[in-house]
């Protein structure tokens, strides 16, 4: 009994750290609707800066002052990022901010190594909190009690800030209705900057407080960012109280879960999130999303099938690519095959995101399932490549049927996070089920049949499959099904009122996207000759998102271009420099600012700018009305 109490205390201390970081994210999320991927990076920066300060200035004042100053410094950096980068892209489609902050995260990961060196750094312990307190004869670190007290304290302070200050009231009003606050004459820009700075401050503070517990390293951000997102979603977007409760729930379940099943901590948070979202689609304390910005569909240029000229152009490009094996070297061809695989993966995600309006954060699950499906067939049934390529993706399809059924019941960020939860659960199965999947050592020896084993042969195989699949996806966009899907995305109200079952339409789209991702995954398995759990991992999902956003979310086939550009750049940089993250992150940030509609979106704008739309100023007003309509 006493033991359980002490265990609960330990859980509470973990919860406090989690809550501090999560509260900041929740505030940014709730007020600004920004998926701030860089939150983990600010957490890490908080720890690094605090390390430098506390290492230099000893004593209680040095330590606590250092923690506080570090948090303020990082908050200032955050505010700067908001002003320089995010302000430029508020009008870009939703999730574009995710892309920008993802670029910043990549840069920070390399920058901290350049600044602070590669070694893990251990900071001082908190003066006055180095010892332990005896609870029922067991020692509990006094620092744990400090953290446990800090959680509710910060919660209370935030409550006061939001309910008892003019600033807080304005922020809450802005959360409800931005136009109204703007019409009150409040400078929304600064309101947003201050909110962002507050959120970053909390992240950095959470990071700085970790110094007495662990080492500071360049991978700190990854260890927390996803968990924090999950906590925010479990609690309900924008609800600080929700984040508090969720942090406790997750930490306590983990603390007690490991007593029964020590392996559980790998996926505790994701299991909790999946259960919570299935039962309560808006998280524990969340309200139905008021006016989620549409991920796509705010474009006012309706899509058209390609003209004959355009079709010939694409056919010419395909022919040139198909001729590549005649002159390109082996390495170029294997890189080409890899890019082709990602083209299909990105195109499948793009179909779901752009046509279906459903932004998945866990699309790698179906890519990976397809890869594992093919690999398991080869390993256990000795299937030849041809059969594995056909049957392997079925596993992706099955996964999409199962998970999609739950996911399409949600929308917006909640949908995204449930897809993430399922992807992580799938990942942990691949990771843990060592007897079947080989765990993290993966499945080896998945090589292509002899006719496709040369780089040339495999390139042609990949090209044929990818061209057929991408063409099929594009046909689907313009098919009656694609129209119905877009209808469900554009207006749930109207589509339901003309007999369209939105959920089942979206479910089918989810399955289609999952199956095509599975095909890409099966190809990937044979390209690499092996499959590892990382195929299903979050980085793969993020890669897919980046490709789609980079290409342009409002275009029909932007993902193809996005995938080619991103993957080619990533592979080239990996080969040329160890600072590939820094350069890649920088390039992403530049692209985001230069092309807020994605590369293809930008090119389309360029093409349509010349013939000025008839109607001129008169029709502008109508556009605005329509936009307001769409936003509702």
């Amino acid at each position: 009994m006493e033991f359980l109490l002490v265990q609960a205390l330990s859980g509470l201390a973990s919860a406090a750290s989690l809550f501090l970081v999560a509260s900041g994210l929740s505030i940014i999320f709730g007020v600004m609707r920004i998926v701030n991927f860089a939150h983990g990076a600010f957490y890490m920066l908080g720890a690094y800066v605090a390390f430098t300060l506390t290492d230099r200035f000893a004593g209680p004042l040095g330590f606590w002052g250092g923690v506080l100053v570090a948090s303020l410094v990082v908050a200032a950096v955050g505010a700067l990022m908001e002003m320089v980068l995010l302000r430029r892209i508020y009008h870009a489609p939703e999730l574009f901010q995710l892309l920008a902050t993802f670029g910043v995260t990549l840069m920070v990961e390399d920058l901290v190594v350049l600044i602070w060196g590669s070694e893990d750094l251990m900071g001082p312990r908190a003066p006055g909190f180095t010892g332990a307190v005896s609870v029922f004869g067991r020692l509990v670190p006094s620092y744990d009690f400090l953290l446990i007290a800090l959680g509710p304290l910060v919660l209370g302070l935030l409550w006061l800030l939001f309910h008892r200050t003019r600033w807080g009231v304005l922020v809450r009003a802005a959360t409800q209705d931005r136009e109204m606050v703007a019409s009150l004459g409040v400078n929304q820009k600064w309101l947003f900057t201050s909110v962002f700075a507050l959120g970053v401050f909390l992240a950095a503070f959470g990071g700085a407080l970790q110094i007495p517990r662990t080492t500071v390293s360049h991978a700190m951000d990854l260890s927390i960012i996803v968990e924090v997102f999950v906590v925010v979603v479990i609690g309900g977007l924008g609800s600080v109280t929700g984040a508090f409760v969720a942090a406790i729930l997750v930490s306590e379940l983990n603390a007690f879960g490991i007593l029964i099943l020590p392996q559980i901590s790998m996926i505790t948070v994701f299991l909790v999130m999946a259960v919570v979202l299935v039962v309560r689609p808006y998280g524990l304390f969340g309200k139905p999303e008021g006016a989620p910005r549409a991920a796509a569909g705010i474009s006012i240029r309706p899509w058209r099938p390609m003209t004959n000229l355009e079709r010939s152009g694409v056919a010419a490009v395909v022919v040139v690519v198909a001729l590549m094996p005649l002159f390109a070297g082996d390495y170029t061809l294997s890189v080409g095959s890899e890019i082709l695989v990602y083209v299909l993966f990105a195109a499948s995600l793009h179909f779901l995101m752009t046509v279906g309006g459903l932004s998945s954060f866990g699309h790698a699950a179906y890519f990976g399932l397809g890869a594992y499906g093919a690999a398991l067939l080869v390993k256990y049934f000795g299937a030849p490549m041809e059969a594995a390529l056909v049957i392997g993706p079925v596993l992706g399809l099955v996964g999409a049927v199962l998970f999609g059924w739950f996911c399409v019941r949600l929308s917006g960020v909640y949908f995204a996070m449930l897809t993430l939860a399922f992807a992580q659960i799938t990942w942990s199965v691949a990771f843990q089920w060592v007897e079947v999947t080989g765990g993290d050592n993966g499945i080896l020896g998945i090589w292509p049949s002899s006719w496709a084993s040369t780089p040339q042969g495999f390139f042609w195989l990949a090209l044929a499959i990818v061209v057929v699949c991408v063409a099929a996806l594009r046909m689907l966009v313009f098919s009656p099904f694609g129209f119905g899907l877009r209808a469900a995305r554009d207006s749930a109200l109207r589509s339901e009122a003309i007999g369209i079952n939105g959920k089942s339409t979206q479910w089918i789209a989810f399955i289609v996207a999952g199956t095509f991702a599975g095909i890409a995954g099966a190809l990937f398995a044979f390209l690499k000759g092996s499959v590892f759990p990382e195929t299903l991992g979050i980085p793969t999902s993020v890669d897919g998102l980046v490709m789609v956003l980079l290409g342009g979310i409002e275009t029909v086939s932007g993902a193809v271009v996005g995938a080619v550009v991103y993957k080619a750049l990533a592979i080239w940089l990996m080969s040329k420099t160890e600072l590939s993250k820094l350069v890649l992150g920088g390039v992403i940030v530049l692209l985001v600012v230069a092309f807020p509609k994605g590369i293809v979106g930008f090119l389309e704008d360029l093409r349509h700018r010349r013939p000025k739309a008839p109607g001129g100023a008169g029709s502008e007003g109508a556009v605005d009305v329509a936009k307001v309509e769409a936003a509702r």
């Binding site: 796509a296 006012i300 099938p305 009656p480 589509s495 739309a613």
Partner: protein, 260 residues
């Protein structure tokens, strides 16, 4: 012959507040019925219950004798109920014609098809519907850049795509110029009479109501307080009391015009 639409004892309350309390009425094919009442009287709630968007707490809604309470909007639509919305709901990423084509594809149960170019499907029918509402010239325009009045007409075309027996129109002329209002309602009336469609509409503009409705019902605080021909309702002292209290009945038009 039983009525096209027979509503009995419809009740809806939100958290103890009664929005609609026991509304009953009937509507025949070809009849144009206006539902009026001050803001907050429960008109929109009534509408949303009729097409299945909101589930009533009690009551029955029979369409040509068949119970439709509890069916989702998409099923109600399949039974032959078209509707337009107070705030237009159209597919902003498509052209005007494509909006109608989607409705036609849905009506003909072709939306599960993965083959063929949907933009070429039911072209003639879509053009006919657009011509019917006077939108043929704008068929190729992106829906997102239409003027508000045109969106309303597009909605009517979409609502007619399933050859409905009953048309629900929630403030069909709001936001339109006076001349457009008359045109739209005249058009609606002509279509309804020709095809025997029953029309139920709500409206703030009393000129539109009294000019085009066969029958007028007045809803106040969730209850029907009057029903009759426009003349009867106009003379009803109870109705006058409700509206005069707000100074609305005859000033409505001027108010809206000055607001424009």
């Amino acid at each position: 012959m039983s009525a096209l639409l027979q509503v009995n004892g419809l009740v809806k309350s939100y958290a103890g507040v009664h929005a609609v309390r026991g509304v009953s009425f009937s509507l025949n094919g070809g009849e144009i019925l206006a539902l009026i009442g001050p803001n907050g009287a429960g008109k929109s709630t009534c509408f949303n219950m009729l097409n299945g968007q909101i589930r009533p707490n009690a009551g029955s809604i029979k369409l040509a004798g068949e119970e439709i309470v509890g069916l989702p909007p998409r099923t109600v639509w399949r039974r032959g109920v078209g509707r337009t919305f107070q705030i237009t709901a159209t597919f902003s990423s498509m052209t005007v014609r494509e909006n109608v084509q989607v409705a036609l594809l849905s009506f003909h149960k072709r939306l599960r098809s993965a083959l063929g170019y949907a933009g070429a499907a039911f072209l003639d029918e879509a053009n006919k519907l657009l011509a019917l509402v006077g939108m043929e010239a704008q068929a190729g325009r992106p829906c997102g850049e239409l003027a508000y009045g045109d969106l309303k007409r597009l909605e009517l075309a979409i609502a007619l795509a399933n050859a409905p027996r009953l048309l629900l129109m929630d403030e069909p002329t709001a936001g339109m110029a006076p001349k457009e209002r008359v045109e739209l309602m005249r058009l609606t009336a002509a279509i309804a009479r020709e095809k025997g469609i029953g029309v139920l509409f709500t409206e703030h503009d009393m000129d539109v109501v009294f000019e085009h409705a066969d029958t007028v019902m007045v809803l106040n605080r969730g209850e029907l307080v009057a029903r009759g021909t426009p003349q009867e309702v106009r003379r009803d002292p109870h109705v006058q009391a409700i509206y005069l209290g707000e100074g609305l009945l005859y000033d409505a038009r001027h108010r809206e015009e000055s607001a424009q």
